[in-house]
């Protein structure tokens, strides 16, 4: 898994594409993923997914007879930087479309540029509902990611299944956490009226010490915890909580892709047994069909058995674009928007539809209980069983 060569491949790919085709024969997609800064890892893998898609299409003769070129800029996980880079892609590279974004603020920032520049933007990862809320929504922005609404409600569904009655929440004190909270509390009240939220903890941005929150939760006497301490933060949280006997005392349901295989692999024995977590993708889900093919390709590309979850996110985000362009038979912005609205596609993780009214894909997530795998080739915790929580019923 050599990241340098990974990035290099991307560059070479775009270079060769540029060389071989004249300007008019190329569809340019601007990719904005952080390849430095705090969310670099997610960005790198997502970019890889986008590039795999472009490679596939180009190898198969292109799209509407044109080659695809993916031009990447580092958004650095910083909204002002993302704004500048999005503009840079549009003004200098003359890209026709934008994909990418990780954090909600970066998503918002790119969405704002796409509105000004009238360029389609597919948000790959940003989840906060604010981006597609009525006051911010515009016709050029589409979201491939599951939003906090779906994610929070899915968690409520799991909490209901686990019969959690006295619930504590621990959610990060910024928009992602607040949006999750709204969705979760509303939905749990609806589906499980007897449940009660007894304590809410809001760790602040940038904190690395959660013990004060852990202590508060344990003193509150809840039987279940809903958490938004996402994958990048979870290892620290888990290591601090485990010695308190935290995970033995409460049932723990967490959003934020804590269930993704790379997190489990990296944490090894530090991944608590029996928590419920989600992920966009788990390679062990199935070996059949498109999913199996994609996993195999990724295994080959990265030279690892256990493939990460993020490439598929970048792949699918770009897939919306390419399929819409194919359907529209054109890369004209209005035509592609029309094609995207209501579009259904088959992704490596199953069929999905882009809702016309709010440009939100009905993206669900994999949820499961993290347990020690019996499989010797994968000596980490994994979801057993894996269930795909479909989004349709949970979407507003």
């Amino acid at each position: 898994m050599d990241k340098k060569s990974l990035l290099l491949t991307g560059t070479v790919l775009s270079l060769s594409a540029t060389a071989a085709f004249a300007e008019g024969d190329i569809i340019k997609i601007g990719a904005l993923y952080p390849t430095s800064g705090p969310c670099q890892l997610i960005g790198e893998y997502s970019l890889l997914g986008t590039e795999i898609l472009a490679e596939e299409i180009n190898a198969a003769g292109g799209l509407n007879g044109k080659q695809i070129e993916v031009i990447h800029r580092d958004s650095k996980c910083d909204p002002a930087e993302a704004t500048a880079m999005a503009r840079d892609l549009i003004a200098r590279e003359e890209v026709d479309f934008l994909v990418g974004g990780v954090s909600s603020s970066v998503g918002q920032a790119i969405s704002e540029v796409s509105r000004q520049e009238e360029t389609i933007y597919i948000a790959a990862i940003p989840k906060s509902t604010q981006m597609t809320s009525p006051e911010n929504f515009h016709k050029f922005v589409f979201r491939a990611a599951a939003n906090t609404n779906t994610e929070g409600k899915s968690a409520a569904v799991i909490a209901d299944q686990l019969e959690m009655n006295k619930i504590c929440t621990i959610l990060m004190d910024y928009s992602y956490g607040h949006s999750l909270n709204e969705a979760f509390t509303a939905h749990i009240a609806k589906i499980r009226p007897e449940a009660e939220i007894v304590q809410q903890e809001w760790p602040k941005n940038g904190t690395t010490d959660y013990t004060a929150h852990i202590t508060n939760i344990m003193a509150a006497g809840c039987d279940g915890v809903f958490s938004g301490v996402w994958a990048g933060l979870f290892p620290a949280f888990a290591k601090q909580a485990a010695p308190f006997g935290f995970f033995n005392q409460v049932k723990y349901v967490t959003a934020g892709e804590v269930g993704s295989p790379e997190v489990a692999e990296q944490m090894g024995a530090d991944m608590p047994e029996g928590i419920w977590a989600n992920s966009y993708e788990v390679f062990y889900h199935s070996a059949a069909d498109a999913h199996g093919e994609f996993t195999a390709k990724l295994q080959e590309k990265l030279g690892v058995e256990n493939t990460p979850s993020w490439p598929v996110v970048g792949y699918v985000a770009a897939q919306w674009l390419t399929e819409a362009i194919a359907k529209a038979g054109s890369s004209e912005t209005d035509a592609v928007i029309a094609a995207l609205e209501g579009l259904s596609i088959d992704t490596p993780i199953g069929p999905q539809t882009m809702r016309a009214e709010d440009h939100q894909a009905n993206r669900g997530q994999f949820w499961g209980k993290m347990v020690q795998s019996a499989d010797d080739s994968y000596p980490y915790r994994r979801m057993e069983p894996v269930s795909y929580v479909v989004a349709d019923e949970l979407m507003d």
Binding site: A84, M85, D88, S104, S105, Q108, E112, Q116, Y174
Partner: protein
């Protein structure tokens, strides 16, 4: 000092800026526009650092205050454009006056640390006051008036505002006040003994710097149609300091050159390596060890040698 040669140079740069849209590159317009905004920010910072000898670690606060004030007045309250734009500068000035009142009581590192503390406080307020600022997702969709919402127009608007501000700052640093400010930097003690109230002189510098930073912040808001809380974080203050030192704090326009250099580097280095911080660091080290007076100082020295 204005020499004829500098005037000619300035004229050429000015003409080039005005003529830039003729080449028809939207990219160039965006890039130069952003450079102009940060040049103004860096120039305002240099009022403190270069002329007043005051090392502020929290100059981003006033940039952010101006940015938020402009966004909120324009969008949430729907004020007329020029009123909102002007009021944003006034609000930055008032905040700088209040914060500066406490900061100038301290000297040297304590001054720096108090400016940092206040700036972080501003950040924390912006982060938590979601109803007004939008918190971490930022203030999105600023109501930029239609007549201004065209890249080329906004570009010219920026040129006018930045040129005007720069001209005012130039007048200020060469004014009686500017002379006195330099005197307090050179020898605070002596300045007191010619009857100068050093703290008040420094407070005025703080307010002026804060005001122009606020104008830069407002422009940035209009440019992006959005404000982000990162603008108030201490790294933004560090960045403007790096710009100034890179360009040279000993000259009036040095920091502007530093801003241009940093932004151009940012756009082009990030394209071919993910290790851009190292390249930036190497450039900083080169300035540090080989051209301590910054790029501008380096350039003017070369010129002198050549003559």
């Amino acid at each position: 000092m204005i020499t004829q040669r500098n005037l000619i140079l300035l004229g050429i740069v000015g003409a080039a800026l005005l003529a830039l849209p003729l080449i028809g590159s939207l990219f160039a317009i965006y890039l130069v526009n952003e450079i102009l905004i940060f040049a103004l920010f860096a120039l305002s910072f240099n009022l403190l650092l270069g002329y007043g000898g005051l090392i502020s670690f929290g100059h981003a606060a006033y940039f952010a205050i101006g940015a938020y004030a402009c966004a909120v007045l324009l969008t949430t309250f729907g004020w007329p454009f020029f009123l909102a734009f002007g009021a944003a500068a006034v609000i930055s000035a008032v905040c700088a006056a209040v914060i500066g009142y406490f900061c100038v009581k301290l000297t040297e590192i304590y001054f720096s640390m108090l400016t940092l503390a206040f700036a972080q406080l501003v950040w924390a307020v912006a982060f938590k006051w979601i109803a007004v600022t939008g918190g971490d997702t930022g203030f999105i969709g600023v109501a930029v008036p239609d007549w201004l919402d065209v890249p080329v127009r906004f570009y010219y608007f920026t040129i006018v505002v930045v040129a005007l501000c720069a001209w005012i700052m130039w007048r200020i640093v060469n004014s009686a006040y500017g002379f006195t400010l330099v005197a307090t930097r050179e020898n605070r003690n002596r300045a007191e003994f010619i009857g100068v109230d050093v703290k008040r002189i420094q407070l005025v510098a703080f307010i002026l710097a804060g005001t122009f930073a606020g104008v830069a912040g407002s422009l940035f808001t209009l440019f992006n149609h959005s404000v982000f809380v990162e603008s108030a974080w201490w790294t933004q203050s560090a960045e403007v300091m790096i710009m100034s030192i890179l360009g040279g704090v000993g000259t009036f326009l040095g920091p502007a050159l530093g801003a241009a250099t940093l932004l151009i580097l940012d756009r082009f280095i990030t394209e071919w390596t993910v290790y851009w911080p190292t390249f930036l660091a190497i450039i900083l080290l080169a300035v540090l060890f080989f051209f301590p007076e910054g790029l501008m100082g380096f350039a003017s020295k070369r010129k002198k040698k050549g003559e």
